[in-house]
């Protein structure tokens, strides 16, 4: 197939690139102790939190940005970023949420008004540095479930926050995690009490709106013994010529017999086909499993100019289970270096990795994964499958699976394939009367099927639609 036709078929327009026209409080660019004090004061934080932030900042200053990723980008100037931006007057109740914000969220498919809220899905809506609204909080409270912004949690549940924040992702884990530890603004806090099955899907929708502002969210999900929760996050940003930094940290804690299902649909603005603009997405996500616990990461990454992200599981408890299901799409000039780490510590721990990378146009897609079998991980097992699909001749796929095994009793099985979307397949579908765009979409969806089926229903529908939008150029 001629290259232009293919490009047309895979350079879908970014549909969420609008800007919300609201007044925002934005601090001038720059980062020093005062910036951190300012953020902490804005959030009305207790002193201990500020102290933790300042300590993290000291450590960050001594660290260097990692360069091992298969990524190329202009150096980030950390002094040119604004570290806090919020819609003026953060509202206390929905009555005070700016109608323009409500309108914008409606446009994103997430109505926040009481009567119109999504059935069975509680939402924390975050714009730039603050949470503007959390739905169903009271309803959830009846079950003892805490679902609030991290800023509220720091004030209202300091003991839980002190115990778990930085417990899975230590401050100095990596450069971006350290930065986030110092300057994080908002994010979601979830606590599911012992034995409770969370009665609805929980979700956070992150929206970048302000210009030149970094978004540094911090999310903690704690599933106490024997509990279950399914948590989902989505994100988008306006179409802009400048790059914007998003550096999040997510920590999951699954205590004995608990299960956390964490799904992400990442659709940050990807930039244009010449690599101009787009979000730099440097994210640290990690969970820890105690005995018999299970953490399942599912991600659909279609956005961002740069994605650097490795949702991981520390399988500490015996018989614990970690899963990673990923679809990463890079088209235009996008670059993704993503994968997972499965750290087997406990006996009979089990992990599954299914990674599907799709590259089109000038997109570069890298799978990077580590499976580590600790000395005591007797009977541990891993299964990894990493498949890459190339559309056209100018894109690339790379696979870096690492294995560290101290225990010969651990079993690791790895399969990897790279295939070009085959002309033969496309032709077959077209010979049956299916047009080229639909044929490409059908093949790509088939390729992603094993991952999509892991998403909660509502999100699977969204993910499929998003994939079409990203790859088909058919605005739907």
């Amino acid at each position: 197939m001629p290259q232009q036709e293919l490009d047309k078929a895979v350079s879908g327009e970014y549909a969420l690139g609008f800007e919300i026209d609201i007044e925002q409080d934005t601090v001038p660019p720059g980062l020093d102790e005062n910036t951190i004090k300012f953020i902490s004061a804005k959030k009305d934080e207790p002193k201990w939190m500020l102290e933790l932030r300042l300590k993290a900042f000291e450590k960050w200053k001594k660290m260097t940005e990692p360069s091992w990723g298969h990524l190329e980008y202009e150096p980030i100037d950390y002094q040119s970023i604004s570290y806090f931006s919020a819609p003026k007057q953060a509202p206390d109740s929905l009555d005070e949420v700016d109608p323009k914000i409500l309108e914008a969220y409606k446009k994103l498919g997430i109505p926040l008004e009481e009567q119109k809220q999504l059935q069975g899905i509680a939402v924390d809506a975050v714009i730039d540095s603050v949470s503007v609204k959390t739905t169903y909080s009271e309803e959830l409270e009846k079950h003892g479930v805490i679902f609030c912004s991290i800023s509220d949690a720091i004030r209202d549940y300091p003991e839980l926050v002190k115990k778990y924040m930085y417990s899975v992702v230590p401050v100095t884990d990596n450069f971006f995690a350290a930065l986030n530890s110092a300057v994080f603004t908002d994010g979601t806090f979830v606590y599911i009490p012992k034995g409770v099955r969370c009665p609805m899907e929980l979700s956070t929708y992150f929206r970048i709106n302000a210009l030149n502002t970094g978004q540094f969210e911090r999310t903690i999900v704690i599933a106490d013994e024997g509990s279950y929760v399914s948590y989902n996050e989505g994100c988008s940003a306006p179409t802009r010529d400048d790059n914007q930094l998003h550096a999040a940290v997510v920590e999951l804690i699954a205590l004995k017999d608990a299960e956390i299902k964490y799904s992400t649909i990442q659709n940050w603005y990807p930039g244009d086909e010449n690599g101009k603009g787009g979000i730099y997405n440097f994210v640290t996500k990690r969970g820890i499993c105690e005995e018999n616990a299970k953490i399942s990461w599912t991600q659909v990454e279609t956005g961002s100019a740069i994605t650097w992200k490795y949702p991981s599981c520390i399988l500490k408890g015996d018989n614990s289970v970690g899963e990673f299901y990923s679809v990463a799409v890079t088209t235009l000039a996008q670059q993704a270096d993503t994968g997972t780490k499965m750290i087997h510590i406990g006996k009979n721990t089990k992990s599954t990795i299914i990674s599907k990378g799709i590259s089109a146009m000038k997109g570069q897609n890298t799978y990077r994964g580590l499976v580590k079998m600790g000395a005591g991980a007797e009977g541990a097992r891993n299964y990894s499958e990493c498949d890459s699909l190339l559309i056209g001749d100018r894109c690339g796929a790379h696979t870096f699976p690492y294995l560290e095994s101290k225990d010969s009793l651990g079993q690791v099985e790895h399969e990897a394939t790279t295939s070009k979307i085959s002309d033969e397949q496309l032709f077959y579908l077209r010979q049956r009367g299916i047009n080229e765009e639909d044929a490409v979409s059908m093949i790509v969806h088939g390729f992603c099927k094993d991952v999509f089926k892991m998403l909660p229903m509502e999100y699977a529908v969204e993910a499929k639609a998003l994939l079409n939008l990203t790859l088909e150029g058919s605005v739907g």
Binding site: S422, E424, R430, R432, G433, I434, M442, H445, G446, F447
Partner: protein, 250 residues
């Protein structure tokens, strides 16, 4: 007009290699035409030229379908207009549900013809019926398109698609190769059930077995990129006896 397709002085190459050297062939409405010929003669190339395969570059000549030259048409346009090819080697498509694929194709054709689309239930009812008649395993409906299908299962799946799509000009490239006795009968019956006095068939084969079932009206011999001989059904016996050597250039 009584001709479904007229191929006139067709010249075509694959890569740098010229394969079709001025091929002439007329396919009549409602008739079954069989093509036989040695390996590498250009039979599959002809079938691919008819459906607009990207490997084939047409250098000259015409393919008139219902009087209109289709040489420059997109493959999907030709398909929607009723041309169907059963591939010699059907490709596997992982993760694409067979029924979903076929319903998409059937509905694309129905839209093209201005008919209402079939909903999933209507479509499945029809598909199940055909799957049963063809003696296919029921799980073929929900498996991925051709993935892990045996050679014979793939061929039956081609026939299933033909029956669901109801095309007008049907090209079958070695539909009989690799079929067991029961499959050959089922496939032949599937083909026969499509005969309606209007549809035309172009059946490429190396064996007389299938021709005993589907009773061709004409036998053409393709050699060195041309049709070198045309005759009636009696030609099959002669070819089986004497091979292609006896037939020189036309």
């Amino acid at each position: 007009m009584s001709n479904m397709m007229e191929i006139k002085d067709l010249q075509a190459k694959i890569g740098d290699k010229k394969i079709l050297n001025g091929l002439n062939l007329t396919l009549e409405k409602g008739k079954v035409h069989a093509i036989m010929g040695p390996n590498g003669a250009g039979k599959s190339t002809l079938s691919k030229a008819i459906v607009g395969h990207y490997d084939i570059e047409v250098l000259g000549g015409e393919i008139l379908y219902r009087g209109e030259n289709i040489v420059d048409k997109e493959p999907e346009e030709r398909a929607l207009d009723g041309i169907f090819l059963s591939f010699q080697h059907p490709v596997e498509v992982a993760g694409v549900n067979n029924a979903y694929f076929l319903r998409t194709a059937v509905n694309a054709k129905r839209r093209h013809e201005g008919k209402d689309e079939l909903n999933a239930a209507e479509f499945l009812r029809e598909m199940k019926k055909q799957v049963e008649t063809l003696g296919m395993k029921p799980d073929m409906i929900s498996r991925s398109l051709n993935e892990g299908f045996s050679g014979g299962e793939k061929k039956r799946n081609e026939i299933l698609q033909m029956q669901m799509l109801q095309p007008d000009m049907i090209v079958l490239d070695e539909i009989d190769s690799g079929l067991d006795i029961d499959a050959l009968r089922a496939v032949s019956e599937g083909i026969n059930s499509m005969k309606d006095g209007e549809r035309s068939f172009l059946v490429i084969t190396h064996y007389s077995r299938i021709l005993d079932y589907i009773k061709p009206d004409y036998i053409h011999v393709l050699k060195d990129g041309k049709i070198v001989h045309t005759g009636g059904p009696e030609l099959v016996a002669q070819l089986e006896e004497e091979g292609y050597e006896s037939l020189g250039e036309a």
